[in-house]
């Protein structure tokens, strides 16, 4: 539930630039209107209600078929690192578990070789 309020302001480091088109084509074949997330609850009945329609987040790596998550690909990795240098959680980016596992490993390797910062923005 916590992610619902945060997701609204979330797309900060989440690679939001390339996601929208991926979302829409995925949403089509997923079978009908799948607006609220599974854990989203009844929505409208709650106080305030659902003010906007939120699409289901999908894994960027699955959609674009990026299999190799490599520590050398800094451009890809920075999309999943918050400004503070933290790895963005799955619930914000929508990356699937296996890919998040590889991603976090790659980010940690990149940090080790000074391609990504441990904390803060790269100078």
């Amino acid at each position: 539930m916590a992610d619902e309020t945060r997701a609204a302001s979330a797309p900060e480091g989440g690679g939001s630039a390339s996601r929208p088109e991926g979302r829409s084509d995925r949403g089509g074949d997923r079978g009908g209107p799948r607006g609220p997330r599974p854990g989203g609850g009844p929505g409208g009945s709650r106080e305030g209600g659902r003010k906007y329609f939120r699409r289901k987040k999908v894994c960027k790596f699955c959609v674009e078929k990026i299999e190799a998550v490599n520590y050398k690909d800094v451009r890809l990795l920075v999309q999943f690192v918050a400004e503070s240098g933290k790895i963005t959680p799955r619930r914000l980016t929508g990356v699937c578990t296996p890919h998040q596992r590889r991603l976090s490993k790659a980010i940690k390797q990149a940090r080790n070789i000074a391609l990504l910062p441990f904390a803060g923005r790269a100078q």
Binding site: D29, C96, I113, A114
Partner: protein
């Protein structure tokens, strides 16, 4: 039973090209001497994400090595001894490469079967492919 590794290392930004080439060739010869193969590429000067040994940038070099673990250990030892090298990382890549190959094969097979029938089942394939890659 050879494995493949990637050794990436950073040398001081003020290192001369000559010295760098010499360093790389000695490293490569130590690998080939131990019965492995090595390939290097110099990425050139890059900004570091954080300060390393009081340097803000460094010259990145990537070395692909095929061989046994002992050869990589030897390369690592040499890197540690060399003072111009300020940071290095070793990553084993053969298992990942194997996995990628498998995924690719699977995908090609899927493509072939789906290309023959009609265009209708085509959109389903990405869905079907997803769990197998997982």
């Amino acid at each position: 039973m050879n494995r493949s590794y990637e050794v990436m290392f950073i040398v001081r930004p003020d290192m001369v090209d000559e010295d760098l080439n010499k360093l790389i060739s000695t490293l490569e010869s130590s690998v080939t001497g131990a019965g492995g193969t090595a390939k290097s590429e110099v990425w050139g000067k890059r900004r570091l994400a954080y300060k390393v040994a009081k340097f803000n940038d460094g010259i990145f070099v990537l070395m692909m090595i095929e061989g046994i673990g002992a050869t990589v250990h030897e390369v690592e030892r040499r890197l540690r001894v060399t003072e111009q090298v300020i940071k290095f990382i070793t990553v084993r890549t053969d298992e990942e490469l194997k996995r990628l190959e498998k995924v690719k094969k699977l995908r090609d097979a899927k493509k072939k079967t789906s290309a023959v029938p009609a265009a209708a089942p085509a959109p389903v394939t990405p869905e079907a492919a997803a769990p197998t890659t997982a």
